[in-house]
Amino acid sequence: MAVIKTRMGDGSTVEMTRDEIRADVIQGSEAAAKKGKIPTLEENEYDYLVDMFCSPSRIWGVERGHEAIMSKDGSVNTLCSSRLSSGIAAPLGREAAIRLFESAFAFDSMEVGHLDYSVKPCKFIATVEQEHMELLQHITILPLFYGFMPNLGLYYRPDGQFPNPSDLLPLGKLDEARKSQEEALEACRQDVVWLSKQMIDVSADGVNYDTVASTGDAEFLATLRACEHISGATDMAVEIGMAAEMVLGFHGELEYDGKRLAGMWPHQQMKVVEKAGASIFGPVVNTNSRKSCAWNVARAVTFVKACTAEATIPIHPNVGNGVGGVPMFEVSPIDMVTRASAAMIEIGKADGL
């Protein structure tokens, strides 16, 4: 039987037979269905994924006419930052880098953002950030977001003023840990709303709240409440991109719109994000580095398909290092990035990436 060269979730090359790839595709989809209590993919969708992974072509793509929209997180960090953002530390200012994303890389939208990217440090340099947004609004054509992370973790000691739940929980101080999160999330919400308004003042087309719920349900609630405020009070578009596939329950009892946030999977997150008034939702599905990319892409696409099946707003799944079926490695292999991206659109019915 012919042997196919494909990859594992850590990026390493692996040889598999067509039957092994098909088995992984089915098992990946079934793994998502079991976790999320959602439907598996259908037989013709398994066929598409198997054909895609068995093709020797180095790159893959969608059918002409099926192209989708690209939005971006991390601003221009892939050009200007270091390896922490898979960056190349190019000697470019942000204006030049964003122009490159518009004209050389042909992105559909782009965002201005600071290297640090968390709301807490960004608020202290908001006027600098505003200047970049104002200048770029003059010289670019594509829609420009301002992107940042709520990153509730920075509000806890030793970085912030609130007691750290990670210190309190091991001591069994559940009530204190919950109280600290409730106070911290309100401080974070206020900062997110404030920074968003600064960007409204300088004509941003939207704000992108990225890596949301990185510290669990309290951060998710802070973001949803901030989104509700900005979407309700202004005509600014809000994109919400998640940090991981499931919302961790560091608090455990927080609700939005009567729904418990802890333990939510992408299709459930989408519902509360819609309710909060967001314009675009970016679900995340984590990559398992010990499974094949065939398994990971099938699993990721199954979750995303459950999102897009019921969404009323555009869905832009995250397809980057360690998420969306792309290997967890600093340098993304183009053969797997293109396959994961195409599958998200053709099978997952994503509106963008």
């Binding site: 002409r64 929209i69 042909a106 609004q137 010289i139 594509l142 004509s203 005509d235 555009p314 963008g352």
Partner: protein
């Protein structure tokens, strides 16, 4: 989709208005008088963008740049851009340049 190389930026604009992909493409195609398939065709869109004077991916002297292009796109798509509204307010113009 190809950004300003195609009509990707225009479709993205409509997604900011909460339109799903197919709805956004249909809206833009109708405004441009082309098919949704044409929107991703860089050959067709390069010429059309120059004719409409809404900015091109290559550097062409005389073609609308940056905010100029966005003022024309806002008019073409019949939507408001925050930066264009600000331009009007700052310059005292009540209407942007008509396409």
């Amino acid at each position: 989709m190809g950004g300003i190389k195609t009509a990707g930026d225009l479709v993205a604009r409509m997604q900011l208005k909460k339109m799903r992909l197919n709805e956004a493409k249909a809206y833009v195609a109708d405004k441009l008088g082309v098919s949704t398939f044409d929107l991703s065709d860089s050959t067709l869109m390069r010429t059309l963008r120059e004719e409409l004077d809404i900015g091109t991916v290559t550097a062409v002297p005389g073609i609308a740049k940056g905010l100029e292009a966005k003022a024309r796109i806002a008019d073409l798509l019949d939507i408001k851009f925050n930066c264009v509204e600000r331009l009007k307010a700052k310059t005292g113009l009540t209407e942007a340049v008509k396409v």
